[in-house]
Amino acid sequence: MSRSLNKCLIPVLVLSLLLVPFLFDRFYIQFISKILVMIIFASSLNLLVGYTGLVSLGHAAFFGFSGYVLALLSNPDGPSNFFLSLTICIVATGCLGLIIGALVLRTRGIFFIMATLAFGEMLFYLLHDTDFAGGSDGMYLDHRPSFQILDYWQLDLSSVTQFYYVALVMMAISLFLIRTMLSSPYGRVINGIRINEHRTTALGYNTYLFKLVNFTVAAMIASLAGFLAAAQFGVVNPEMVGWHLSGHVLMMVIFGGLGTLLGPILGAASMMFLEEIFQVITKHWQLMTGIVIVGVALFMPRGLAGIRFPSSVDKQTNKENHSS
């Protein structure tokens, strides 16, 4: 039943997403773009927490690092090339992810949580306490990256509509990438690591290597989100790498539902809508956010996706087992 439902639901959803700039005003287009960026970010963390079982409390390091790379690349003379700067951001963050991953993956369980936290905070203090990247104030981008098609048309990311479509395309690409990866033999090894790492090792897989590749890929997808976040408002600050953002996005992933493709989408969207509503109601909106988080932790550990489709996790793993 849910299969036929999906079949008509997805085209409707895609169509309505494409029509957003025609239906809403500036504020909402910007807000929905922010949600799209957070969906990319949350999905990349879900790759670690939900699919591999690695709880990272320092994932914002990659998000913010990418934003800082973009800010440092920008020069007053004119906009940098969109594709070139995106590539540099992703490659640089990938290298950082590889180095940090190689170190933190030596630890397990709670030590892994703490180690990722430590590296995230290290980057935070490096950016916060030194002057080369603007210190505690952060940096402004002189120009947002852009590209030109012949002489007709030039991308302008300061236009909310154009940014919205760029973010939408990027989100679609990353979700497609994550889905493809996870339904491949590689994804089955990753699943195996989450369920039983010893057994996966016994089957002859070098689980450390698989985890490292996964950690690096997650960092690279997070860097895509960081790139977009920096390009959207043209500013970066140390809070982008801080552990509060890591905690916040972790919460979105759990709120939506761990280990499902839909989870981070539901989690990021509903959490940001809720917070927007709370902010209208009261100045002390974080109190309400806190109560929601505590409620989720106590009463619905499988998140929103777990409520709507009670067996979606099992179904997905089953599907993966049956394919090929």
Partner: protein, 299 residues
Amino acid sequence: MSDYTLLIQMMNGVQYGLLLFLIASGLTLIFGIMGVINIAHGSFYMVGAYLAWSLTGLTGGFWSALALGVVLSIILGVILEWIFIRFLYDKNHLQQVLLTYGLILIFSELRSILWGDDVHSVAIPSILEGTFQLTESLSYPFYRLWLSLVCIAIAGLMYFLISHTRLGMMVRAGESNREMTVALGINIGFIYRFVFALGVSLAAFAGMIASPVSSVFPGMGNQVLIVSFVVVVIGGLGSIKGALLAAILVGLLDTFGKVVQFDLLGMNIFPSLSGMSIFLLMAIILIVRPQGIFGASTK
């Protein structure tokens, strides 16, 4: 740097470290015995400092504020354990992190509603005003010395409590084998509630006695939380001895990181990198000895 400046910095570092120990020991006990990662622990430090500030105003004295504050923080600990924490014992780390992260937000907003967002200061009690004159220009305040001595006394008391009393024996039994302890007829629920309330009151007490030397401000809990986690990981989760050693190590490193001048490539890198130095130490420890200095084994 003269000998006396060195001495003062060293005493400051040790004093900061001892304060960290009070917070980190609660954190490490709660993890070691109850298996709960409590990332809301920094909030209790913040609550303690704000309690000291508001109760000093209400009762008119620092000492009465301290006494009342300790009682209130124990009550807070018992209530929190009863409402929230007891549901976390059989849950995974992820749910524990999530719930206690929610508590951080709740505490910080309740603080904002109750006490506002302003920065406050607490006066040093009159008996402990004054300083030791070391040289003509250098002196060391009595209050800081008293603070260090109180922390050392509490560390000693905790050692006695855990290793030489019947209650401590039950706590240690609960740590090494929960099922066996329950089978022997010990009320493990009571032990857990006691340990959690002890942790909360230790962190709150640290906040109270720290309030006269550092100002009372909204973000103080988060700052100290991360550093205490570093201490706990370096010392080894669940090890009080490790927490003491690591706390002093971190306190010294942080203090000296701020004052030592170190030039590299014409850039004076040290004061600006002192914030990083403790995380660097933690990263090194995690890589060389992932279970911490006194940690038993990686789980």
